[in-house]
Symmetry: C2
């Protein structure tokens, strides 16, 4: 009679789910300058060398280095000023032995120059003469051709999520448009006879839908296009019809049902998922808290996710399993820096064989992060609002002690 | 003859800059569900209690707790089934002593019930009778009225940057629209005769503009609307006219000039800023690497920022000073979790009296983050592309040793 869960560990559940999700494999080409947060759809390599010419890294004088050897404050070297290298122009000046050319930071070195003397170490002595008070070695204050990147060097691999600096690197070598993964369309339904839209007044027994908004926000952050499709009643036929219509009308790539809180609604969710194509339900229950009754399925090539109705459970499970599902659809590498290491301010109880995610506050003390666990019930959304992160109690531990190092997923 | 910097420490520079930036003080009301990443313009408090009714946290039977006292596997308590509480409906059933009502997770408790027995600890013995095999205490498996939030409780303060879970909290208490700070409009110009648009082919001596894209991406991430307004030649009158026209035509709230690499261009930037209104240039040079020649100004109530032309310097300085400027315009609190603590894999040389930001790779070893510094020149954009973060060498240290803990700003 009670529900029977065949509980998988979070890692196993995640692997089983992700292994069944086929990447969309669809790319679109966008201007590089508009590609922030998009996922590269192909490996990129440098089409050219950078810098393309020898550049001065300082304001100063381009010289033949040997002409400065032995130069000092008391015995400067005197060089004839052959001219100025203008910015953005080829350095057409030739420097004969004993000559120098004024060059600005980023300017091109004349062919015959081998180094740059910083302007601070020189003095103008006549209109066409400078004295140099310090020697420079060959190559000093010069950025060599190819020092930044060489033609054919890999820049970023397919699956990389583009950051501000990546756009700069691509543009620097003239890659002004790039192929990126199409953004997956994630349909989100709330279900449950007690759930009403958040802009309505509640009647006794009713609660507002918060999961559609939190899941949509997490999906958007992950790079997807969220589609909030409303609230379905606790009725198998209506739920199935709603899911099917969404898939057809909205070209849905992923479907999420925030599945109400009672067992009956959750079971109906699994039945609906099994009707949306093979392989159907893959995971019915995860050994985790909050979020044990999570349902993971794939149907018709689409990931399908049944979230518990409790707002904390729904949030944590979508963050831990739904977001990786979106990355998988886009063929994206997950972020390299997922977690913070912090020390616990208090003991946290758990149960061996279950992975817990506990909302916590974070504080920096003497250069170390401390995580202060928040007592929580998965029904209470404000425990998340007051949290800076989720601390993880690993599967095989029956709790953690104050002072221990823990992994914290920041809720930024 | 050489440039004279009156170098301020990064903290002093930042404080002087931010203290002169007046917050825009303009709010607009947006639907809460569309407010991800926006900045709250007013303190919010709960307009109502949550939950609004006593809810069951499990599937089970609502009972009067004393009726279950002493119940056990061998000596169960027998209760008459008075009915079922439907989801989304008031609990109209009254439970007399010796009675129970079926209730689902999230359902409303009948007035006379004081606890819920989990369905796993019961058995149906007749159509209208159950046996209870474990006692429950008053309040067990019940979420009390107001356990999540009380009317008038503060939710989030003005200046808070809204996260996914915050939208959920606001919607849970029926706040479906909220006042948020207007997004500042940040105008970005590149300057320098050597700089060309990134989609053009370079001629000898020319380089592509990358700073406009990286600064725009950082500004967008921070919540601003970036306006990339192109490239200005190294000519005072043209630069001034360009800046003035932008401010008038585009209702600019902040102006950034990526100011070329040579001293002459940087000095012209300062002259332009001094013509855009009082107080003018506040900081001309920061004791930091990369990015020493950064110019910070405020004119006509607008922050004005002159960035070095080197891509690494421009990126780091906009991240460290420009982004806080945007937050200030929005009246936003800076993120609570700015830095990661990591240990150094190698010695890093610096100079006392200068704060360094060194690009680094991050790796997790035995639960600790390690930062692997990348040798860098501020001219080389690909040092940032290959970096996971920027590690900080504090102002008063002449370097750091391998194994030391350092603060790392992740470049996510």
């Amino acid at each position: 009679m009670p529900e029977f869960f065949n509980l998988l560990s979070p890692d196993d559940a995640r692997r089983r789910f992700l292994d069944h999700i086929p990447p969309l494999g669809e790319a679109e080409t966008v201007p590089t300058e508009s590609a922030l947060g998009r996922v590269l759809a192909a490996d990129t390599a440098a089409p050219q060398v950078l810098p393309e010419f020898r550049r001065s890294s300082v304001d100063g004088y381009a010289v033949r280095a040997p002409d400065t050897f032995g130069a000092s404050e008391s015995l400067p070297a005197y060089l004839r000023l052959a001219g100025e290298v203008l910015m953005g122009r080829p350095a057409e000046i030739d420097i004969a032995p004993g000559e120098a050319a004024l060059v600005h930071t980023g300017g091109m070195l004349p062919d015959s120059a081998t180094a740059v003397v910083m302007i601070e170490h020189t003095q103008t002595t006549a209109e066409d003469e400078i004295e140099v008070r310090r020697p420079v070695a060959d190559g000093e204050n010069v950025i060599q051709v190819g020092e930044d990147i060489q033609p054919g060097d890999p820049i970023l691999p397919a699956g990389h999520v583009l950051r501000p600096q990546d756009l700069g690197g691509l543009l620097a070598v003239g890659i002004a448009a790039i192929p990126v993964a199409r953004r997956p369309r994630v349909a989100i339904f709330a279900t449950g006879d007690e759930v009403i839209p958040p802009d309505r007044r509640t009647q006794p027994g009713q609660v507002r839908d918060v999961n559609s908004a939190t899941v949509a926000a997490l999906a958007e952050r992950a790079g997807a296009i969220p589609l909030r499709l409303g609230i379905l009643p606790d009725d198998f036929e209506v739920m199935l019809a709603g899911a099917q219509a969404a898939i057809e009308q909205h070209r849905v790539d992923m479907l999420v049902l925030s599945a109400g809180s009672s067992v009956s609604v959750r079971d109906r969710t699994a039945e609906v998922f099994d009707r949306l194509g093979a392989p159907g339900v893959l995971v019915h229950g995860v050994a985790t808290k909050p979020g044990k009754p999570t349902i993971l399925a794939v149907g018709g090539g689409r990931p399908l996710m049944g979230l518990p109705g409790n707002p904390v459970s729904a949030f944590v499970q979508f963050l831990m399993l739904g977001v990786p599902g979106i990355y998988r659809l886009m063929g994206a590498q997950e972020p390299r820096i997922p977690a913070l290491q912090a020390r616990l301010t208090a003991n946290v109880a758990s149960v061996a064989g279950r992975e817990d995610y506990v909302p916590c506050r974070l504080a920096l003390r003497d250069g170390e992060w401390w995580a202060d666990p928040i007592f929580f019930k998965s029904n209470l959304i404000f425990t998340l609002v007051h949290a800076d992160g989720l601390l993880k109690v690993p599967l095989n531990q029956a709790g953690l002690e104050a002072g221990e190092w823990v992994e914290v997923c920041p809720l930024g």
